[in-house]
Each structure stands twice: as structure tokens, then as C-alpha cells.
Symmetry: C2
Subunit: 397 residues, 2 copies
């Protein structure tokens, strides 16, 4: 090859940033031009967003400046929004420019899936970015302040979380912890506050060990959460929701965590996709487009039973290792690695010092699970930023 190959990475989420860091380490000088594109100049730790959303932690602790992670001598960073991917032209159109590539990595992340439920897209909040969680936090605080002006408006203090999956449950744990503090700050009687969790599936945390799910629900019920499990959300308006059983709940605050889909840009690019997600080959490439890799929420990896794994941070980080290896191998014409997901366990937090999980083949609950959650969080900080980042963002509280 007479020219240095150009690698473009779209998105600096888990998949994108770890891929960039691995390439930065593996590639030799002038072996490839690597460009990382991201909408913000920071990477955010999505699995941590439920805390700033509830206001139990500073959003600052859930993000890291990209330029503090990557080495700008080795990787170009472009802060821009991707508008279009043109695989046939091998180009990416940005809001303010165009990039050509020889290899493309799509790590654009997912979008909320509202399943066509009327009003949800317009009126619900979503835990998806630093901006969206700051809005949720401010929105919640604002309701307390408004209630003190209009004390007959109990609906201001009714909070509905749609979805009892991982994000929904973790957010509820934090919210339930925050409510007593908000009540104290705004002189509000805690009895006026209601938290509902609505889930269409027959259980909270589907796929989790039933004993642990039971434990989680009991912990959250004790904190004042009312569960509506096995009941679908039918409609969302600016000041209420309606459930499938006809019940109407007056509320100004719906946080929807009930679904994630892939990115519309991958559909618009003409790739074969299911809800914005692409089934990748064993090397994490798009079949028929061997120069395009997909990682994270936009990719589908099948488990041994032929069903897609849920897209998680853990999945994206593991993909990044293989993906970066395969990119380097492609450039060097050496052999590619196949990807195989290996679950290292899963822990869901339920607020301060409470969690449930499976790790190293063992069921964990309470303080030990919460400790494991902290270790997982710190491990990720270590992966992307080493000891300095652990010390800076590790919030040992």
C-alpha cells in the first residue's frame, strides 16, 4: 500500500474509546491514520448515568475529557456530529465536513426505543447522555419547587419510571435515595412523593436470577417504590400516563428506560439492520462490507442459543479488544481473531450500599454486591485512563 491507511472511528462511547486506546498502543508510527469522531469532547460512562440523573452524584464524575484519554500525536480527534455514512464512497459526512476512510468503526451507540407508545417520545425523559441526565435532575428538583407554590398539585411529586430492566432499576434505587434529601431541602412531606415502576414484562430484571430479583424488589419497595409489573404503558401525555389495565396516573415526570435500539444512521447507510443494529460476522465486520466494523449498541452478537446478547458496556469493551486487533491485523495482512463474549458477571445497584449480582459464578446481594459494583466501575476507569483516572473519578464514597 503506497498510502497510509485511514481508520475512522465513529463515536467515543465504550466501544469507540477503547478501540481508539488499543490502536494507539498497538500501531507503529505512521502505520495508520486514526481519527476519532464524537459529538462531545468528552466520553461518558453510560453505566454511571443513573446517579447524576437522580442527583446522587455530580455529572462531572460520569464523564472524562477525550483529550485526557487519547494521545493527540497518535490519534486525531474531531468533535462533530455524524450526518451520514456512505459505505460505497468510503466516506462519512459530518455536520461540518467529510472524512474518507479505508476502515470504518461504527460505535455510534443506541437510541431509546419507545415501541410506538403514543406520547412517550415527546414527553418522557431518557437516561442517555450527560445533557439528558442533567435535564432529568433539574426537572425533578423543579417539581419539588413548583409543588411548594401549588401544594394541591400532588402530581408534581409523582415520578414514573418506565422499564424495570437494568437502567430502570438502578435509576430507581438512586431516586429513592434522593427523595428524602429533596423532601428535607424543599420542606416537603415525604408522604406526598410517589415512585412508580411500570414494566410490561412478567418480571423485573428479566433474565436475572429470580431470588435476586425478589430481593431487589423488596429493597426498593421498602424505599417506597410501587411496582406495576406485567402491565404495559399505553400512553403518555404531558401530565399523565395510562396503563394497559386502564389506570391513569397523574404525573409530570416519566423517565423511560424500557428499550434501546441501534442507531438510525446505520439503517440510513443501507446496511442490513434490525432496529438499527447490525448482525456482525465473527470478526465484528459487516458481512459484505469487510472494511466496516461495528461495535457496541449498533452491533448484534448471537449467543450459543442463537439469540442476541443484550448490548452492554462489558460487551462493547470486550469487542474493542478483538476489533482493534483485527484492524491492526488487516493492515499488516496477518490473521484476524474471532470474537466470543465471555460474561464476567453482572451487578445491578439498588442505591447506596445495596446491589444484586452474579460474579465469579456466585450470587451476591447487599453490601458485597455493592462492593463488587464499585470494583467493576473502578476497573473500567483503569482500562481507559489508568491509575490517574481511577484516583480522579473514583469517588470513594
Amino acid at each position: 500500500m503506497s498510502r497510509i491507511p485511514r481508520i475512522v472511528i465513529l463515536g467515543a462511547g465504550y466501544g469507540g474509546i477503547v478501540t481508539a486506546l488499543r490502536l494507539q498502543k498497538e500501531l507503529n508510527y505512521n502505520e495508520a491514520d486514526v481519527t476519532l469522531v464524537n459529538k462531545h469532547d468528552y466520553h461518558y460512562i453510560t453505566t454511571h448515568l443513573h446517579m447524576p440523573a437522580a442527583g446522587t452524584d455530580d455529572p462531572q464524575n460520569a464523564r472524562v475529557s477525550i483529550l485526557k484519554l487519547i494521545d493527540e500525536f497518535k490519534i486525531d480527534f474531531v468533535k462533530s456530529t455524524v450526518v451520514q455514512i456512505r459505505p460505497n464512497d468510503k466516506k462519512v459526512i459530518l455536520e461540518d465536513g467529510t472524512l474518507s476512510y479505508d476502515y470504518l468503526v461504527i460505535g455510534l451507540g443506541g437510541e431509546p426505543e419507545t415501541f410506538g407508545i403514543p406520547g412517550l417520545k415527546e414527553h418522557a425523559h431518557f437516561i442517555r447522555s450527560i445533557n439528558s441526565v442533567r435535564l432529568i435532575r433539574e426537572h425533578i428538583e423543579y417539581q419539588f419547587a413548583r409543588f411548594k407554590k401549588e401544594p394541591h398539585r400532588k402530581d408534581y411529586l409523582t415520578f414514573v419510571v418506565g422499564g424495570a430492566g437494568f437502567t430502570g432499576i438502578e435509576f430507581i434505587g438512586e431516586l429513592a435515595d434522593r427523595i428524602p434529601k429533596l423532601c428535607k431541602e424543599f420542606d416537603v412531606d415525604p408522604n406526598h412523593v410517589k415512585i412508580y415502576n411500570v414494566e410490561a414484562a412478567p418480571t423485573a430484571l428479566p433474565g436475572f436470577d429470580p431470588e435476586l430479583v425478589q430481593y431487589a424488589m423488596e429493597v426498593l419497595q421498602k424505599k417506597g417504590v410501587t411496582f406495576k409489573i406485567g402491565i404495559a404503558l399505553k400512553e403518555c401525555t404531558p401530565d399523565s400516563i395510562t396503563l394497559a389495565d386502564g389506570e391513569e396516573i397523574k404525573t409530570q415526570t416519566v423517565i423511560w428506560t424500557g428499550g434501546v435500539r441501534g442507531n438510525r444512521l446505520v439503517e440510513e447507510a443501507g446496511f442490513e439492520a434490525m432496529r438499527g443494529r447490525i448482525k456482525v460476522d465473527e470478526y465484528l465486520r459487516i458481512p459484505g462490507h469487510e472494511d466496516v466494523y461495528v461495535i457496541g449498541d449498533c452491533s448484534i452478537v448471537m449467543n450459543e442459543e442463537g439469540r442476541p446478547y443484550p448490548p452492554t458496556a462489558q460487551m462493547a469493551i470486550q469487542q474493542a479488544d478483538v476489533l482493534a486487533h483485527n484492524l491492526v491485523a488487516s493492515i499488516r495482512n496477518s490473521s484476524l481473531k474471532t470474537f466470543k463474549y465471555e460474561s464476567k458477571g453482572t451487578v445491578a445497584s439498588l442505591g447506596k450500599n445495596e446491589a444484586i449480582g452474579i460474579a465469579m459464578g456466585r450470587k451476591l446481594k447487599g453490601g458485597s454486591a455493592a462492593m463488587m459494583k464499585k470494583i467493576i466501575d473502578l476497573r473500567y476507569l483503569y482500562i481507559i485512563g489508568g491509575i490517574p483516572l481511577v484516583l480522579r473519578k473514583g469517588y470513594f464514597n
Copy 2:
């Protein structure tokens, strides 16, 4: 008198709380029954409210629990809202009960005066209580969070303060200090933020020394404030204001500080009142109702030119001394004191370390005025709570 006389004090603002404290000190055991009625179980320091409103200080620093100030063995405290004053029955109707009195002290405070400007009452915010300033603070923060979701909505970041009197100017000083911090917190370009101050009178801070007014405006203009002086506000809608010269400013946030009137309850009680304020006699009683004293924003005291003094904290505190003396004298059948206001100076803050004022016959500006402001604040804390309160709330920042 065969029965112990009953004194009822309505309102625990500056006038009410200082009256109660003076009575507590002066009255002998079983000389009178004193009952203090207040809507909240705390007294708030109205002249400090512009800080928590802008978010530059904690609302906690602007209030004190009433039970920490009064001695419950000497004074009964009733947390309730006054519904009606019946001077002919010598009764006060509360939301949840009735009180009979021999002597009544009306210290119910004022209400915002909107001069019939359409939409102002419905859509503007007012700096008048702990609840209202918490709402302002949350409302402002919410606009920053909303802007990040809808970056085309520049009107979210336009803040209009109506009135360039004392409260308006002091609030603007704090708001201008807070904006850079909010911009940093929410990743907002400070150039998007606009602060307008609209005042119908031909000058800001009418009645103040023109040289000091000039200084104040320059300080605030440097902090980014745009003044519209001599231009009346014509209309306020949920998302705009219109000025008398036809200019429309798109905004979600109007804070109205342009006028204060007395309390509607004194009008409804049948007393002769002007905008809810009663012209009291030289002993601070209502002419024709010698058992009813009025203090603070509900009272009118004339200056030597026959014009009413503006109602201020300083005025109310001075009234309380004379009022308490006169109550005790009435009970003891000794002679009453006449009230005469004596200005001890006035300082308006313009944000951190900036102020203007007149004290001890001298013009002050900048750091020395700010220092004087701090001394005035601390002096008041000392008056109501002694050294312990000064230490607890004196926020030496």
C-alpha cells in the same frame, strides 16, 4: 384587669419577630399572654433572599427556625395561615382555628404589586419567600438544562428582571455572578445568555445618589446586564415580554421586583388602607382602633415632607422597638413613645464584593460598601439571635 391581657402578633417577619423578642424580654411573668402566628415555622431574612434566588447562597442561610429564636415558655407560637382579621370581635380567624386578642400586632408583610400589567401575576416570579426563591433558582437551572436539549431555544437563556429598585438590582448582581458558573456546569457558551433589567422610572435605584447609581449600572453592565431604563413593561406572556416601545423579548423567565403593596387581609378587615397599607398614628396604632398596631410593609409612616417612607427591614426593626415599648406601657398604663424613623444608611449589593451605599453620611462603593453590607447583615442576626446566630448563619464567605 382581672384577666391576663392577650397579645396576638400576626407574622414573624422583621417587625413581628423583633416585637416578639422585645416583649419576651420586657414582660414580667404572667403580665401578658403573647401568641405569635406565622405561616411557616421559620423566620426568613427577606433582604437576603436575592442570593438563594440566584443560587449564589443556600436558602438555609436566609432562614431561622422560630423556635430557636423565641422562648416557648414566654411566647406561644402557632404555625398557621391568617384567613381574616375581625377588629370588631377582637378575633383573628386562622386556617385551623380562632384567636381572641386584647392587643393585635399586624406584621403580615407585603405582596407583589403588578400594577395591572397583563400576564405579570400569572407568569412572573417574585422574590418574596423561601419557597418562591427556591422556585426561581430551580427555574433558572432548569432553563439551562432544557437549552442543552433544544439548542435552538435561545429564549431559555434570556432572563428578564422587572424593576431596578433595591431588590431588582441586588438580584441582578447575584444572577450575573451565577451565570458563568451555570454556563460551566451545563457546558453552555456564555454568549448565549442575556440578562435584561427593565424599569419604568427614569433611573435605576430611584432616590439613590446619582453618582452611585451610575457606578452600579457600570458594574452590572460589565457583568453583561442590558438596562432598559425609563421603559415600562407592557405585557408578560408565558414566553415573552413586550415593552412600552413595542420591543418584544422572548423569554421563559421574568422576575418581577417592580413593586410591593401591603396585605389584602388589612383591606378586607375594613381598615382604611392604601394598597393594603395603613397610615398609623405616632404610636404605630390604627387611628380609631387603638388596640391594633401595624408594623412593616402593612404600615405607612410619613417623612417630614409628608411622603411615605419606603417600607424596609430597617424601618420595621425600628418600629418594633417602639411598638413593643408601647404594648408594655399600655398594659402597665404608663406613657407611650412616639415613633420617629432614623435612617442608619442604606447599602445595595451588586454581587460578590461589589456594592454601593450611604452610611454614616458617607458615600461608599466597591469593597468598602460590600463590607458595610455584611456588617448590616450580621447586625441583624445579632439583634434577633445574638452571637450564636451570627456564628451559625453569618457565612463569612
